[in-house]
Amino acid sequence: MVPLSYYLVLGGILFACGVTGFLIKRNIITIFMSIELMLNGVNLSFVAFAAQWQALSGQVFVFFVMVVAAAEAAVGLAIIIAVYRTRETLNVDQVNLLKL
């Protein structure tokens, strides 16, 4: 019998790794993947809590999270392609035209 908190810790570690990658990576695609990592950690927490409280709504929520993640990935990658076409680079530091 695995205590619930173990699952939560695992989800938390995944989330932390995702945040770290989000902050320190310079490649746009890698940043995106860190976001997906964060979402996965959250999914694990949802399912764990669903199991603890015997409520299937948690699993249903995971669906929605996945759908949103997929949509976001699609649009985000399209934007990355567009940015790459104009700026010829995937380095996020060079996409800085909005500075004051």
Binding site: N96, K99, L100
Partner: protein, 653 residues
């Protein structure tokens, strides 16, 4: 049953004329604009005549309420009009003389710019003056009071592009305002103690009070009313605006500053006679102010060289006479003098305007002379007016002035001091008026042929050559007023007094004790009258000597008198004194306190500092928007960490 006389029409007709001329006049041609103004003013005059015709059939006082205005608790003031002999006299004077001056102005202002504006302002003035005269409560009268001040400001500064005219208009309005302050406080006292401002109610309440010896409520009200009257009627110490007001066109000086507006103060004091008769201290103040002003202004008038300024000081002096009359209890004599003064002073101003018009804008008497052959009609009418003002029998001024002097001597409120100063002032009046007469019309012409510079109060010079008589439209009013100056006094002071008696019923016992001494009065009346006639002739004689026979004498006398002459010439430096005492501290105070202190350092500073603060804050905050995506990511993560931390902390509490 009281017939409805539609009194409300009388003020409103000129108002309609003012509105039409003011709003649409720009598109009117000169004949149309003048027709509009004359039509409405003439209609008001016609109505006044019609009312006069029916007057004996009316039950007096006749009051008409048009509409409710203020109902606040027990205080009530309505748009209501009041007709009694006093207001009828004022009504006829204002509309009659006003109408004549309107006609005169058509000629005088024909070549001026802003023609329609002039007539709009003139009609506006008539509206306010008629409201003042016909009002049946002090509040409506105050509206008229303020309104004539406004119209005076507009008309004095008619040529507003000229700095001196604009400044004169401002001065008139501000000095008037100081008087209005006193008037307002008197009104507040009335509301507080009598609960109303309607004439009927106030006078009924006052009648139930006794005579106040020493100071008290009625004395305060009387003194404050006198402050207001001093401002409006140019008495000491608030007279300084009237000589400057000569910057306006001459018809304005004639109408407003001779015949009507300045007499509003006298009318107000006469109307409030019930209050004054119960406050001997206030009466004394009124009489003293009037007498001193008369003397003071007459001495200044002796030395002035501008023809309009002489007439201005003369007006102040004659108004002093009217206040002297009111101050000794002879209210109806004051009104009598008001009426005759309207005739001859209006005529004097209009004739002076005709003279100025004739010689192309010159106003300095030292540059006039010998005009009697060149402008005969003006000369003869001005002669009639001069004789009237000097008090020669049988002209109008003699009857009224003589009655005032007699009352000053014999009335229980009067004293021989008033009479003596009055006689001396009459001598001075005769002197300076004949001085004006000799300098203007006799001797050699001392001016330039065509003066090209335009002067204060003069119309733009036009190029018909030489000295010429004025057009008929200007001469006809002169002749009519001259006839009135001759005959106006023939109604006699006794009949006039009896006519005005219903307005001046007196509850004070002091007045009635004057009646029994009638027999011995007749003898002293003859003596006093002859003394005043002698004074008038003495003035004529002196003027003839100094300005006709031996013209070099005045210069020698002036030099002999040295400093005193300089002081009088500079009007006793009163304007300079006021500038130092009041104007400069006020301007300095408001500059340093109100402008620098409050407007600049508080209001502007608040705005500037809040803008500065916003800028500083946004300057600090702009680092969040660096365009660098990773710093955005950092901020998002930081924010999220704060939120998560908060929620964890809440969860573990």
């Amino acid at each position: 049953m009281t017939p409805n006389l539609h009194l409300w029409l009388i003020p409103l007709l000129p108002l309609a004329g003012a509105a039409i001329n003011g709003l649409l006049g720009k598109r009117f041609s000169r004949p149309v604009a003048s027709a509009v103004a004359l039509a409405f003013c003439g209609a008001a005059f016609a109505m006044a005549l019609w009312i006069a015709a029916q007057f004996s059939a009316l039950r007096l006082p006749h009051m008409e309420t048009v509409a409710t205005w203020i109902r606040a608790g027990s205080f009530q003031a309505d748009f209501a009009f009041y007709l009694d002999p006093l207001s009828l006299v004022m009504l006829l004077v204002v509309t009659g003389v006003g109408f004549l001056i309107h006609i005169y102005s058509v000629g005088y202002m024909w070549e001026e710019g802003g023609y329609y504006r002039f007539f709009a302002y003139l009609n506006l003035f008539m509206f306010f003056m008629l409201t003042l005269v016909l009002a049946s409560n002090y509040l409506l009268m105050f509206i008229g009071w303020e309104g004539v001040g406004l119209a005076s400001y507009l008309l004095i500064g008619f040529w507003f592009t000229k700095d001196s005219a604009a400044a004169a208009g401002k001065k008139a309005f501000i000095v008037n305002r100081i008087g209005d302050f006193g008037f307002l406080i008197a009104l507040f006292l009335m509301i507080q103690h009598f609960g109303s401002l309607n004439f009927v109610q106030v006078f009924q309440s006052v009648s139930s009070l006794g005579v106040e010896y020493g100071t008290g409520l009625l004395t305060s009200i009387g003194l404050l009313l006198m402050v207001g009257a001093a401002g409006k009627s140019a008495q000491l110490p608030l007279y300084v605006w009237l000589p400057d007001a000569m910057e306006g066109p001459t018809p304005v000086s004639a109408l407003i500053h001779a015949a009507t507006m300045v007499t509003a103060g006298v009318y107000m004091v006469a109307r409030s006679h019930v209050i004054f008769e119960r406050a001997p201290v206030a009466m004394m103040v009124v009489a003293s102010v009037g007498t001193l002003t008369a003397l003071f202004a007459a001495t200044i008038g002796v030395c002035q060289t501008d023809i309009k300024k002489v007439l201005a000081y003369s007006t102040i002096s004659q108004l002093g006479y009217m206040f002297m009359a009111c101050g000794v209890g002879a209210f109806s004599m004051g009104i009598f003098h008001l009426m005759t003064h309207a005739f001859f002073k209006g005529l004097l101003f209009l004739a002076a305007g005709s003279v100025i018009h004739a010689i192309g804008g010159e106003q300095d008497m030292r540059r006039m002379g010998g005009l009697r052959t060149k402008i005969p009609v003006t000369f003869w009418t001005m002669t009639a007016a001069t004789l009237a003002i000097a008090g020669f029998p049988p002209f109008a001024g003699f009857f009224s002035k003589d009655a005032i002097l007699f009352q000053a001597f014999t009335s229980p409120y009067g004293s021989w001091v008033y009479w003596a100063i009055g006689v001396f002032t009459a001598f001075l009046t005769s002197f300076y008026m004949f001085r004006l007469w000799f300098l203007t019309f006799f001797g050699e012409y001392r001016g330039e042929e065509h003066s090209d510079h335009s002067r204060a109060g003069a119309p733009a010079p036009h190029g018909h050559g030489g000295i010429h008589e004025s057009p008929k439209v200007m001469l006809v009013p002169l002749v009519i007023l001259a006839v009135l100056s001759v005959c106006g006094g023939w109604i006699g002071s006794d009949r006039f007094e009896r006519f005005l008696a219903p307005a001046f019923y007196s509850g004070s016992a002091a007045m009635e004790t004057a009646a029994p001494a009638h027999a011995e009065q007749a003898a002293s009346e003859g003596l006093l009258t002859s003394i005043s006639i002698v004074a008038a002739f003495a003035g004529l004689g002196l003027a003839w000597l100094l300005y006709h026979r031996r013209p070099q004498l005045p210069q020698e006398i002036a030099q002999a008198l040295g400093g005193f002459y300089q002081a009088v010439l500079h009007k006793y430096y009163v304007d300079e004194l006021y500038a130092v005492l009041f104007v400069k501290p006020l301007i300095d105070g408001s500059t340093s306190l109100l402008w620098h202190g409050i407007d600049r350092d508080v209001i502007d500073a608040t705005l500037d500092n809040s803008a500065e603060g916003a800028r500083t804050v946004s300057d600090a905050a702009r680092h969040m928007q660096s365009g660098n995506i990773r710093s955005y990511a950092g901020w998002v993560a930081a924010g999220a960490a704060v939120v998560i931390g908060y929620m964890v902390w809440m969860g573990t509490r």
